[in-house]
């Protein structure tokens, strides 16, 4: 038996599985909140890819579905607190879109815990880190997405 191979498989066993999370963040609050977490050197789990949009109102169901379709294990939608939207009511639109998205995801049979909506302001760096940690743990507990089959590259 190849000794290095044994070693590698042992190592693989001990590493815990890390989810692949997509975070949608608005330019004015949540993305800046992530920045605040960064400049304040607040530690948080790194297993997410962040997509910046100008406003959370832009995050239509198609965005979230596309992430799940491509095998994301969790999707976090974030924006300014209600009342604080840079475009006055964009986050109210985001809420409407999110409700729709959630209903569709439920019909499809994906677990509710894989999708989450959070309002994070530009000042809330600590909260950003906390939300990311919580959500990552939550998705880790659910395990890999059933759609995470990586069967096409498109």
């Amino acid at each position: 038996m190849n000794p290095t191979k044994t070693k590698r498989s042992k190592k693989a066993k001990s590493t815990k599985w890390n989810p692949n999370i997509v975070v949608f963040a608005c330019n004015w609050c949540s993305y800046a909140g992530a920045d605040t977490a960064g400049v304040s050197r607040i530690q948080h789990q790194p297993h997410f890819k962040m997509i910046r949009v100008m406003c959370s109102g832009r995050i239509q169901p198609g965005f979230v579905f596309k992430a799940f379709e491509k095998g994301a294990d969790g999707v976090l939608v974030s924006g300014c607190h209600i009342g604080d939207c840079h475009y006055i009511f964009g986050n109210e639109r985001a809420l409407e879109q999110f409700d729709k998205t959630k209903n569709m995801v439920r019909l499809l049979g994906l677990e509710d815990g894989r999708l989450r909506l959070e309002w994070i302001s530009a000042a809330e760096g600590a909260r950003f880190a906390q939300v990311i940690n919580e959500f990552t743990d939550q998705v880790r507990k659910l395990g890999p997405s059933p759609l995470n089959t990586d069967n096409r590259k498109r």
């Binding site: 729709k100 209903n103 089959t149």
Partner: protein, 386 residues
């Protein structure tokens, strides 16, 4: 202009019988998109296919502007199957990474592709009410629900309930003594993916669905949605291993057993009927819906000037044609429906309802084009006595 004629294009052209074209231009003259100013010329595409000008047609927005409503094929004197040409060309385009622009950000296509992966357990039967008798695995009649539950969740602001028609269809079947099989494992039929060019995911869905219906040992498959019906009757045929069940639209099934139903007479209503393009021109089902409407004592059917073979499509097709031309067609069609004096517009496809409801949201035209819509199954089920 490139003139690389690939064998695949020649093959497609042959199957669509484009060689028969004698350039009369009736197709373009009749095309609803061309008529309102859209840059679509079926004649030119057929000509390009014959000349082997692949680039001219594959990488061209006009390819996705087509509603695939089939009006041109009805007029064509030599029987060019334009729909087949478009379907095949879109597959080539898809392979080259060209996809239509979906007005919903690709949400519905994503849902279909996730269903094609099929790794999740869908919650698609939560709308069943206690009065509806269904069975889950085996039975003589399989009722195909289609994706109305998804549409209702996706278009909550349209004030339409396409699920009502699904429930009504089961109610009608129950009244005829049929307890249909309704399966939680049904998946999208893949109609839209096929017409968007994504044959790969379409085939995954087709194989699953055909297997599901075959395993129920049903002899008859009853379908409400006009698009699902087209897919089952035409596009799924190569996937059946044994002999396929009898595939019928709900109106065909009910019209066949019309003598077993009793209707009550309510207040009289004048209605008009929108022929869905898939049901009418694609499958030739014009009469059964009309037979049903005429059998109802309280319904008075008035036809629109353009009906039956000449009916104008709802211009929605495959979640890929939404633009100002589509809107123009929808508004025209709704004006036509209103001009008949009908109190409501009856249709037989959930997508007709969705797209007309969307057009009616225009704040400048509200009263001019607003007309209530009902699915034919709902209309018939509500007229049942007792």
């Amino acid at each position: 202009m490139k003139t690389t004629s690939t064998p695949e294009l020649a093959e497609i052209a042959e199957k669509a019988k484009t060689w028969a074209c004698y350039d009369c231009g009736k197709c373009t003259a009749t095309c609803p998109i061309a008529r309102v100013g859209g840059a679509l010329s079926p004649r030119r595409q057929v000509l390009a296919a014959n000349l082997g000008h692949r680039e001219d047609i594959v990488n061209n927005n006009a390819l996705f502007a087509c509603l695939t409503c089939g009006l041109c094929s009805v007029r064509c004197p030599v029987g060019v199957v334009y729909g087949k040409l478009v379907q095949s060309l879109r597959q080539i385009a898809y392979h080259e990474g060209i996809e239509p622009e979906c007005p919903h950000g690709g949400a519905l296509q994503s849902m279909m592709r996730m269903m094609a992966k099929g790794k999740t357990k869908q919650d698609r039967l939560n709308w069943l009410t206690e009065d509806l008798k269904v069975q889950q695995k085996k039975g003589e009649v399989f009722y195909w629900t289609g994706c109305t539950m998804y549409y209702d969740a996706f278009f909550p602001d349209f004030n339409i309930a396409t699920l009502d028609a699904t429930r009504a269809a089961i109610r009608l079947l129950n009244r005829l003594g049929v307890t249909p099989v309704v399966s939680p494992d049904e998946r999208c039929c893949g109609h839209d993916l096929l017409w968007n060019g994504d044959r790969e995911n379409f085939e995954l869905l087709a194989r699953h669905n055909v297997k599901l219906v075959e395993s129920s040992s049903a002899e008859t498959l009853v379908v409400s949605c006009a698009e699902c019906l087209r897919t089952w009757k035409i596009d799924y045929q190569p996937f059946f291993e044994g002999s396929p069940p009898k595939i019928m639209h709900i109106t065909e099934f009910v019209a066949e057993h019309l003598d077993d139903l009793k209707f009550k007479a309510n207040e009289e209503h004048t209605v008009t009927y929108q022929d869905p393009c898939r049901l009418g021109r694609h499958l030739g089902i014009y009469d059964p819906p009309r037979v049903l409407l005429e059998a109802l004592p309280d319904i008075n059917l008035v036809e629109m000037p353009r009906s039956g073979r000449n009916a104008i499509c709802c211009a929605g097709g495959t979640w890929s044609n939404c633009d100002r031309y589509a809107k123009h067609i929808q508004v025209d069609r709704l004006r036509e429906a209103k001009s008949t004096g009908a109190e409501y517009l009856v249709t037989a496809c959930p997508k007709c309802q969705i797209h007309f409801a969307c057009a009616m949201k225009d704040p400048n035209l509200h009263e001019e084009i607003e007309i209530p819509m009902r699915d034919i199954a709902t209309v018939v089920a509500e007229a049942l006595s007792g």
